[in-house]
């Protein structure tokens, strides 16, 4: 039963990834911790592996539709480890609560911008 729940959540995670261009980790991680019983670190690591496979298949299909700028994607991806290093450093100096609320505010701001843009487009 737990395995079935994990399968369904991962299916939904992949669906979300394909629809809006994210990896799906937001759903894979809870599926792995709650229904498979992995620890948070194990779940995040395993989720990363799943994200690579999902993103690869999704990007391959999107490329077929003419929806991928490969060069731009490679530049973004190649620069991400610098960001991860900055993120980890920041996380060690700022309280987690401040970080959570800051990112929540940024997410809401971006959501408002997307809605405003979509309505006027």
């Amino acid at each position: 039963m737990n395995e079935l729940a994990a399968v369904l959540i991962c299916l939904f995670g992949g669906l979300t990834g394909g629809l809006v261009g994210v990896g799906g980790g937001v759903l894979f991680v809870p599926a792995l911790t709650i229904f498979i019983g992995l620890t948070q670190v194990e779940a995040e690591s395993t989720s990363l592996l799943m994200i690579v496979l999902v993103a690869f298949v999704g990007a391959y299909r999107q490329n077929g539709y003419g929806n991928v700028r490969v060069r731009e994607a490679l530049i973004i991806g190649a620069l991400s480890p610098l960001g991860v290093w900055i993120g980890v450093t920041v996380a060690n100096h700022v309280s987690e609560r401040v970080l959570q609320l800051s990112f929540a505010a940024l997410a809401l701001f971006m959501a408002a911008q997307l809605l405003r843009r979509a309505r006027t487009a």
Partner: protein, 127 residues
């Protein structure tokens, strides 16, 4: 891709900023960089939703590969069999998702993305 398609220098800086920001949020919250990449490609480069999401997925392949290699290689935390088995329904989902995305208006993707961002914000505030 031909040289004529290459982004100008100022665009390179913006791309570098997007990559770095995606990494920052990935490092801070364990969320995929896509949350940041898709909106910024739309705001800063005026990408259409489909181009932004497709390019985001391609960037995530590289971001995830680097992360997986670090986690799997250095710490051995990746549960390979579990990950591969659960990737099967996830891949079925992404095939379905990309197919559906080609058949809905681009602005619908923006609405869905805004919904996802609000859900993430609520989860962060409540956690």
């Amino acid at each position: 891709m031909s040289a004529a398609d290459a982004p100008p220098d100022h665009a390179l800086w913006k791309l570098a900023a997007i990559g770095t920001l995606a990494g920052v949020f990935s490092g801070l919250f364990g969320v995929g960089g896509g949350t940041v990449i898709v909106p910024l490609l739309i705001f800063w480069f005026a990408y259409g939703e489909r181009l932004a999401t497709g390019t985001s997925l391609a960037a995530i392949v590289l971001i995830g590969l680097l992360g997986t290699l670090a986690q799997g290689g250095l710490y051995g935390n990746v549960h390979l069999l579990t990950g591969l088995l659960l990737a099967i329904p996830a891949i079925a989902g992404v095939l379905l998702g990309t197919a559906i995305q080609q058949r809905i208006p681009q602005r619908a993707v923006s609405y869905l993305f805004a919904l996802l961002l609000v859900a993430i914000a609520v989860e962060l505030i409540l956690s």
